[in-house]
Amino acid sequence: MTTATTVVDVHGLEKTYGKANERQYKALKDINFSVAEGEFVGIMGASGSGKTTLLNMLSTLDTPTKGDVIVNGHDVTKMRGNQLADFRAQEVGFIFQDFNLLESLTAEENIGLPLALKGTASKIMDQAIHEVAETLSIADLLQKYPAELSGGQKQRVAAARAIVHHPSILMGDEPTGALDSTSARELLDLLTTINQKQAMSVLLVTHDPFSASFCQRILFIKDGQIGSELKRGSQDRAAFYQQILNELGTFNE
């Protein structure tokens, strides 16, 4: 794992909310970590610990106050305007807790959006959409509108949209948050499959130990800092789940 190339490299990342003359809040303090290619990394932490903030920095939805974020060789902190948009469109796949599907578009059109933005030819686009739809078993849902889909189905469509353009990293901010346990389980299995079959790096933010047990490595954030780290190694998921629970027990004290 150490020999693999890194996809995400974070150095001395800080984020302070609020302008200089206002009341300020330091949400992230000196964060350092990296994600290797093909790794499945989880980020855990209590509510308000800074998980979403961290993910927003990585996905360029927000800009850090200090530090470097390098994703797939691009220094994200140095990008501006269109570069940022293009970076999000090409390098990052994102799954949101609230799906973020456009309700005016069919599932197929939603999935195709990242490709359309690239200007992909429509034939290649169709092929890519159907491929990913097969993988996520949503081929029969393609013509439906989001309003006609269940939560689990919506999230699978969102996942399809996140990976259809083969981004270098897939990020999810509590993607199972709005799903029931069966759907959540299905989605996590899917993420694992994607991670293994396509060797796509996955960064999963969650506060749920069950979801976290699907990861290979877990970073625990507390008060804007990485407190500890857990590696799954060769244990099976159930054992890892137990380890996470133990860690949370001590971590939260």
Binding site: L102, S104, L113, P114, L115, S122
Partner: protein, 603 residues
């Protein structure tokens, strides 16, 4: 407590409220100005040379009221769309429906009352300055126009406050009928209209048939008379609605299947339109009609005015008649470019006026003949004295040479000897026909003034085509003024109707564009996407409106006879109008961008 919360909600969206308030204020101001013009009795009496003017103003007022109703409807739905999320939240937090209902009612009413009050004040100011300016530009002078007129204030206040009470009630009912959940997620509901080919085909065909009937009715106004306009209004409305319903969705669906739809944001654009257009059909229909009325009003008004000199020739056989010319008048007459002139001596006695046959034989009276169609012939003709005695003396223009308090004297033609013996008041009258009316307008105007001062003729009769021209100029100038006024007012309101309807969808779009931002869509791509989407919504009624006008102008063909044509020189009028429409589009677009586009850096 709830009141405070509501106020906070309003504060958060104060810019949107300002837009709404500004729109309503403008609408009230426009209405006041028009009401002032239409109901100000002193003003109408002084200017309505022809009684039809007040009829036209009345018709204009009805149209204006109609569009105002529609306008307030859309403004209200915009207001509701801004607020329903908050209201839903209040209810979820445990506020009773009754309490929230009161809040809604009060909010709408307060907003409406403020808008009406400011609007009337603004209308007063605009009446004082703007109307005068517009009249000046058109070279018109309307007497007795005072900006402050109490009945107009009352009319405006009653109409607007009344409409706002209705709107408040409507909001109240609407809110108490929908569930809290629906209010909270009002902008997330997807309704995907179904396309049913057979029904669509029937709708389309019916639409075209209705439109054809409407356009035919306008062209056949001479045979249909007064039924033409209501018939056209109903059929064109229905036709436009059905046509929009039948075609727009099908076109969008068709486009969605093409490869073009899979490039950049095109798919999203079509999705948005597909999502919207169905709900918009009714409004697009109304807007296209208003567009047509506004453009039509301006086109006809300015067309009349522009083409009037063409018609002046046919009003009378001579341009001006001067009685017992004075040296000052002679000087002015020398400046004219004369095509034909004649001088007759009259002897007026009792109810008759006597002419010397010799004079008439030497300078025959020019007369106008009419074709069977009622159109005047291109050239004047003269008769021999014998024929003239038989029929020529009945000629209106000839009779008008001798007007008294009792009306026209009866012309009698005598031989030279008889004429010499005839007693009575002697008057010499000189008739002049100029080569080109436009060329001699200045001296003619002065001559006419002098004549009018010396002989207070009955107002309803005219002597010479110049006087007719001047009168019609006033009347048609008034028409033109009305055309511009109504046209601009309609345009302002219809564009803000469209604006409000589009802006009502903004909160929902805000989320959508936020999503696009997250997915990595470039800012300028989103800008373009929005520009196209709104552009199409403006374009559809625009095109339909232009088509309506092109057919609708047929209606004025009988009124604007031979040398004139309702279609003459409409290009420039169209350009000005479309320019104004584009400005409205740009304003809407700028507002939309501001509301909808996500900030590039979050904080």
């Amino acid at each position: 407590m709830l009141g405070k919360l509501a106020l906070a909600g309003i504060k958060n969206r104060r810019r949107d409220y300002l837009v709404l308030l500004a729109g309503l204020t403008m609408s009230a101001a426009i209405f006041y100005m028009f009401a002032n013009l239409a109901t100000n009795r002193a003003f109408i009496k002084a200017n309505a040379v022809v009684s039809q003017a007040s009829l036209i103003f009345g018709f204009g007022a009805v149209l204006l009221i109609l569009i105002t109703v529609v306008y307030i409807m859309y403004a209200n739905s915009f207001l509701l769309s801004m607020r329903q999320h908050d209201y839903g939240l209040f209810m979820m937090l445990g506020a009773t429906r009754k309490r929230v209902g009161e809040l809604v009612f009060l909010e709408t009413l307060i907003l409406g009352t403020i808008a009406t009050a400011i609007g009337i004040v603004l209308g007063l100011l605009m009446s004082k300055f703007l109307v005068g300016f517009l009249l000046n530009m058109l070279g018109l002078h309307l007497a007795h126009l005072s900006a402050f007129y109490v009945p107009a204030i009352i009319a405006t206040a009653v109409l607007y406050v009344g409409l706002f009470i209705l709107a408040s009630l409507f909001n109240l009912i609407r809110l108490t009928r929908t569930t809290v959940l629906k209010l909270l997620h009002s902008d997330e509901q997807a309704n995907q209209p179904k396309v049913k080919p057979f029904r669509q085909l029937i709708q389309g065909t019916l639409g075209i048939i209705f439109l054809a009937i409407g356009y035919w009715a306008l062209a056949a106004i001479t045979t249909l008379q007064m039924t033409a306009i209501p018939l056209a209004l109903v059929t064109i409305t229905l036709g436009t609605y059905l046509l929009f319903r039948a075609t727009i969705l099908v076109i969008i669906r068709g486009l969605r299947r093409t490869a073009w739809a899979k490039k950049h944001l095109n798919g999203f654009l079509l999705g948005q339109l597909n999502f919207r257009v169905h709900n918009y059909t009714r409004m697009l229909t109304i807007v296209s009609l208003l567009f047509a009325m506004a453009l039509g009003a301006i086109t006809v008004g300015s067309g009349y005015h522009r083409q009037l000199p063409m018609m002046a020739k046919t009003i009378g056989t001579y341009t001006i008649a001067v009685h017992d010319k004075t040296p000052a008048e002679q000087k002015l007459m020398d400046q004219l470019h004369v095509a034909y002139t004649a001088t007759y001596t009259q002897k007026r006695q009792g109810k008759a006026v006597y002419y010397n046959g010799d004079e008439i034989a030497k300078q025959p009276v020019e007369q106008q003949r009419y074709k069977k169609s009622g159109q005047p012939e291109a050239h004047l003709y003269t008769q021999s004295l014998k024929d003239f005695k038989k029929s020529g003396t009945q000629d209106m223009d000839f009779m008008a040479l001798a007007l008294g308090k009792i009306g026209a004297y009866t012309p009698k033609i005598l031989s030279a000897e008889q004429f010499a013996k005839q007693t009575g008041k002697t008057v010499t009258v000189t008739t002049i026909r100029v080569k080109d009316l436009q060329q001699d307008l200045k001296p003619l105007k002065q001559l006419n003034k002098l004549e009018n001062k010396r002989f207070a003729a009955p107002a309803s009769m005219t002597v010479g085509s110049y006087q007719g021209y001047e009168m019609m100029n006033g009347f048609f100038g008034g028409l033109e003024f009305m055309g511009y006024f109504l046209g601009i007012a309609f345009l302002a309101m219809l564009a803000s109707c469209l604006m409000f309807k589009i802006l009502s969808g903004a909160p929902g779009d805000q989320r959508r564009y936020r999503m696009l931002y997250k997915v990595g869509v470039r800012q300028n791509l989103m800008r373009w996407g929005i520009a196209k989407e709104i552009g199409i919504l403006f374009l559809i009624p625009g095109i339909m409106g232009v088509i309506d006008v092109l057919f609708g102008l047929q209606m004025f063909k009988p009124l604007m006879g031979a040398p004139m044509s309702p279609y003459l020189g409409i290009g420039s009028t169209f350009l000005i109008f479309i320019g104004l429409y584009v400005i409205y589009y740009l304003i809407t677009l700028a507002l939309y961008w501001r509301i909808v586009l996500p900030k590039t850096t979050t904080d």
